[in-house]
């Protein structure tokens, strides 16, 4: 798994839309540098927006380079990595659907971890009415997209567990 905060498929599912480098979730570890750059950019823009607009435009583009590298290379949804990410997500959905084929079969989600399988489960089983007789009882556990579903022989609950390997 990449050391980059949004370098794993699971991280993209959890936080991909909430920032480019995962800083919000990590408490903005580079806030000092970012703030300094922002204040400098403010000053440059105030001085140059009337005198040298191309310089302001260049500054905007240069400041976007770190983010560009993240979006285009480092993130797990970077263009060359996105097919693999899509495959993992769609396979996770398919695994849950195979174990609990909603809407063809009534499904009751009896427990779910507030982690990466939560939204996967919400796509696979979006409606959660009271369990009907004969409904598949499903648990969604774990913190990864590599899903394996087994049926507990005692309780007949289908447990889909996701690992991040």
């Amino acid at each position: 798994m990449s050391d980059f905060p949004l370098g794993s498929p699971e991280a993209i599912v959890l936080d991909g839309a909430n920032g480019v480098g995962g800083a919000p979730r990590r408490g903005f570890p580079d806030a000092g540098l970012s703030s300094a750059l922002a204040i400098a950019a403010l000053a440059v823009a105030v001085v140059l927006l009337r005198r040298s607009r191309p310089a302001v435009a260049v500054a905007l583009l240069l400041a976007a380079v770190p983010g560009a590298i993240c979006v285009l290379v480092l993130r797990a949804d970077a263009p060359l990595k996105r097919p693999a990410l899509a495959r993992e997500v769609s396979e996770a959905i398919e695994d849950v659907h195979t174990a609990a084929p909603w809407p063809e079969t009534a499904v009751a989600v009896v427990a779910e971890d507030d982690d990466v399988l939560f939204p996967v489960g919400r796509y696979a089983i979006p409606a959660r009415p009271p369990p009907a007789a004969g409904a598949v009882r499903l648990e969604l556990r774990g913190d990864g997209l590599d899903v394996e579903c087994t049926t507990d022989a005692g309780t007949a609950v289908v447990v889909c567990r996701g690992d991040d390997e």
Partner: protein, 418 residues
């Protein structure tokens, strides 16, 4: 690819309605990207039952009130090559959702396979335990409609991506008459378009935040171009905004305020406020329906203000907006562009749009639920709200980087009311 057929059908339906409302030939309204949104607005109101039909009657009445005596001259052609490039950039990826809200919202869209108003019915049935509860239904419903009832991951993702493109195209359609005469070189365009990396992420996802901002921008541009009254497209944008998300009403109000403030004819204020009024009516109707059905939206409930949280909000906004990896230096520079004095009508209206949106959302958080403040604190909200503000701020920045010929002053008026 069934979603393309669905979009084509919606677009054609909307083009017919536009032709009726504007007296333009159908061959011209078919060239307007906003046509699909007109159709979605009508379909949304039809899906809301009796309350929606009342609102549909109001929409029709307002559109007829705004109907011109003669069709406007044909508008200048849009930059179709640029739009094609944008579409390609948006769609060139696997059509699979990969982020939290994408999965949750497309899950709701799956319900659309059961019928035209199945998403609404399920959203108003507390026994279904949909999440998020009480949210407006148009986005997942529209994905279902464009998917023509097919329940498939790639179909729905493509349908949602097409909606993202349509909102961008509608914004371009609305603002093209205002900006096409400006000499904007590649550098200012690139800086405004590429200076905020998070927007590239959202362009290639099916989150609602970017479409909301684009629609608010489209509404403002349309109102600025209206000679007398708010045309059907503006009314439709307002309905779609309110139908997509609760924040949509904020965009509609802010856009209307922006247009009214810069209007050179104060007597038109009431006419320009019609879309905002319609958006409020749609939003309130949905809230009433959800509350009476037992599925109220607790997330966006308002209550006693937590004024002591304002400094924390300011700190959080600063941290999010200045995160250089996420936003570059877009927001500091855009702030300067928005704050500079100008007589340009378009820029002034954009200032009001961004300021109105920011003020309203801040108030919404201060008066809002603890859950929303928790989202803001844990980093899963504010950047997305900034994405909603990005389109208007980016356009203001572009206009600052590529001013009209001769510097300050009112840009050329658009050709006709649309």
């Amino acid at each position: 690819m069934i979603s393309l057929v669905g979009l084509a059908l919606a677009h054609t339906f909307g083009a017919v309605l536009l032709a009726l409302a504007t007296r333009e030939p159908l061959r011209l309204t078919l060239r307007r990207p906003s046509a699909a949104l007109v159709a979605l607005a009508v379909l949304h109101l039809c899906s809301l039952g009796p309350a929606g039909l009342v609102l549909l009657a109001a929409l029709a009445a307002a559109a007829l009130w705004a109907r011109p005596a003669a069709p406007a001259p044909p508008a200048a052609p849009l930059p179709w090559l640029a739009l094609a490039g944008l579409a390609a950039a948006t769609l060139a990826r696997p059509w699979v959702p990969t982020q939290w809200d994408e999965l949750v919202w497309l899950g709701k869209a799956r319900l659309g396979a059961a019928g035209f108003d199945a998403v609404v019915d399920a959203s108003l049935d507390p026994a279904q335990h949909l999440i998020p509860a009480g949210y407006p239904t148009l986005w997942p419903a529209a994905v279902g409609w464009l998917s023509l009832g097919r329940d498939g991951l790639t179909t729905q993702t493509l349908a949602a991506s097409l909606l993202v493109i349509v909102t961008a195209a509608a914004a371009l359609e609305a603002w093209w008459p205002h900006v096409r005469s400006r000499p904007a070189g590649a550098l200012p365009l690139a800086a405004a378009a590429l200076g905020a990396p998070l927007v590239w992420v959202h362009l290639r996802s099916v989150y609602l935040d970017l479409p909301l901002g684009l629609l608010g921008l489209a509404l403002l541009g349309t109102l600025l171009g209206a000679e007398r009254r708010a045309p059907l497209t503006a009314l439709a944008f307002a309905v779609v905004l309110a139908g997509f998300k609760d924040e949509g009403v904020v965009h509609a109000l802010a856009a209307s305020i922006g247009a009214i403030v810069v209007s050179q004819r104060p007597s038109r204020s009431l006419a320009l406020a019609a879309p905002a009024g319609l958006a409020v009516a749609v939003a309130l109707s949905w809230r009433a329906l959800a509350a009476s059905a037992g599925t109220p939206g607790a997330d966006h409930a308002l209550g006693a203000p937590l004024l002591a949280w304002l400094p924390q909000l300011a700190r959080l906004v600063w941290l999010h907006a200045t995160d250089v990896v996420t936003w570059g230096v877009f927001w500091p520079v855009a702030l300067v562009a928005l704050a500079r004095p100008t007589a340009e009508r378009e820029v002034r209206s954009l200032k009001w749009l961004v300021a109105g949106y920011a003020a309203a959302l801040s108030a919404g958080l201060v008066f809002g639920s603890e859950r929303m403040r928790a989202f803001a604190e844990n980093g899963t909200l504010l950047d997305r709200l900034l994405v909603q503000a990005w389109p208007a701020a980016a356009l203001a920045l572009l206009l600052a980087l590529a001013p009209a010929q001769g510097g300050a002053g009112t840009a050329s008026m658009p050709s006709a009311q649309r």
